[in-house]
Amino acid sequence: MTHRSVLRGLLFASPWIVGFVIFQLVPIVASAYFSLTNFNLFQDPQFVGLRNYQRLAGDELFWKSLTNTLYLTVIGVPVSLTAALCAALALNMRVRGQSLFRLFVFLPTVVPVVAATYIWRWLLNAQYGYVNQALGTVGLGQPLWLDDPFWTKPALILMSLWVTGSAMVVFLAALQDVPDMYYEAAVIDGAGPWAKFRYVTLPLISPVILFETIIASIFTLQYFTQAFLLGQTRLNAASGGPENSLLVYGLYVFQQAFVNLNMGYASAMAWVLLFVALAGTFVLLRVSRNRVFYGGD
């Protein structure tokens, strides 16, 4: 019986298992092999040992792209998750029309990424854009968002604030799971709004915050489309933006693989990314061990 149930289980799961072997397992092994070769798609791969990895260590653009991506992960992820949490807190207030406000905040998240990026290229236009217009009205500086290498990544982060809808919904669900009695108890103890947030809400939703941080960090390490389109100058140029300030890791892999056809070199880059992602997740889990509260029940 157990034998047959295993067989049935595997049979029903077979679409994914077959797909995993064809589209992930074999490619992973192949990618590890390619990373040890020179391979331009038209000739057979030429084994070169660890030379690609040695070349990476001395490749300025590799370090630049890694720094750019880490910038977006280390600064961008906390900023956008904080914004999502603030929005969720506001949208959790009990008012009439609550659902309508939630809809408004979520709507940008469904705009296709290509359309959204061009919309922001227009909003961030240094001269005619509304962002600088608004900054000027309140007497702030008006950066050259898309031309000044210092400001291109903040521009990307600003864009990401517009599409925080999914994190916002997850936080909202977590906020609604906090039992009312905890707040009532806190009020009896004389807690104000901030104390309630700091000592009730935050500990209780901390597992969700950790989960969202890991997910958002993994996605940010793979970041490609927004940077590609924000730095885009002409068709298929795969430009890294002013002084390669938009050359994120995924974009550099794309350049090496599909523009320069350095498939071996790009595979080595992909493997470095995998290790960065694993190390990052490990560090996050380690650091958060004492700060995340998993409820007793």
């Binding site: 289980g9 679409p15 490619p27 990618s31 659902s99 990424v113 290509v114 061009y118 969700v208 995924g250």
Partner: protein, 297 residues
């Protein structure tokens, strides 16, 4: 989060009592403050839409005005005409709809049957498989992207839709996880009743579980549809012939050639986003539920 739940006339004020368990001093000020915050946030998120629409309906010479202004005396639909003339919009729409529909069908069939195996068949190794499936979500696509591309290229299938469509029939880790979460909530008794009557697993999957899981299947379909609709990287890699462009790639190439024609570009961005916004408005309940089930968009 239903759009139909619009606030009643006189937003909350006359009936505000019912909203609060006890009427506290200063509740009116608090209500006003709450609405102030929510209206402010909504305005921030909605403003880009206003700019896009305004820009798309303005004559070219009014778009570059200093300071930028939203209004116009000469609203026009010329930008929409220009956008549709400059690119075969109908063709792109058809291509995108085709890819998105096939994606939905493929994922519906494959992800649901794998989820059934993980949620409703008891077999040894099932938990290990679930762990493996979830772990693959962390794998950066860059690692597999290059070997998979080489594979398709060896088969002579780059430049066709097959590399975008075939993988959809092997399930996706995210959808499998999402459906599995939902399937687990379907009471075992219902399945047992069918088993007593001698129904096979295939039969139970098809006639008991799938009909009961409609909300989750709808949510999955919306996700699959939206992701396929907005996907950029895969079509960018695999599609070369302008006849085969999707809306994402079409808009990208349009921007490459007509960069500064913001009116037409915003019109095109609007046309591209509209179907998705409609899909979202119709299915938002299930969509939001899907995010809450899995924690990811």
């Amino acid at each position: 989060m239903a759009a139909t739940e619009t606030p009643r006339v006189g937003i909350g004020l006359p009936n505000a009592n019912s909203l609060f368990r006890r009427r506290r001093p200063g509740f009116l000020a608090e209500t006003v403050l709450r609405y102030g915050v929510l209206v402010g946030i909504s305005a921030l998120y909605l403003f880009p839409f206003v700019v896009v629409l305004a820009t798309s309906f303005k004559p070219a010479d009014e778009i570059f005005s200093l300071p930028p202004r939203l209004g116009s005396d000469r609203w026009t639909i010329d930008n929409y005409r220009a956008a549709i003339d400059a690119m075969p919009f109908g063709r792109y729409l058809f291509n995108t709809a085709l890819i998105s529909s096939v994606t939905v069908v493929g994922q519906l069939l494959s992800s649901s049957i794998v989820a059934y195996s993980l949620a409703k068949i008891r077999w040894r190794g099932r938990d290990a498989l679930l762990l493996l499936i979830v772990a693959t979500m962390m794998l950066p696509p860059q690692v597999t992207m290059i070997p998979v591309y080489i594979g398709w290229s060896k088969l002579g299938l780059t430049g066709t839709y097959w590399p975008l469509l075939i993988p959809q029939f092997f399930g996706s880790a995210f959808f499998i996880f999402m459906l599995r979460q939902f399937f687990r909530g379907i009471p075992e008794e219902l399945l047992d009743a069918a088993r007593v009557e001698g129904a096979t697993d295939l039969r139970i999957y098809w006639s008991v579980v799938l009909p009961l899981a409609r909300p989750a299947l709808v949510a999955m379909s919306i996700f699959a549809f939206m992701w396929a609709w907005t996907d950029f990287l895969l079509p960018l890699i695999y599609i070369n012939d302008p006849e085969q462009y999707t809306l994402s790639i079409g808009l990208y190439s349009f921007f490459s050639e007509h960069g500064v024609e913001w009116g037409a570009l915003m019109a095109a961005a609007t046309l591209m986003s509209l179907p998705l916004i409609l899909v979202f408005l119709v299915g938002q309940r299930q969509f939001v539920r899907g995010i809450a089930l899995t924690g990811i968009k």
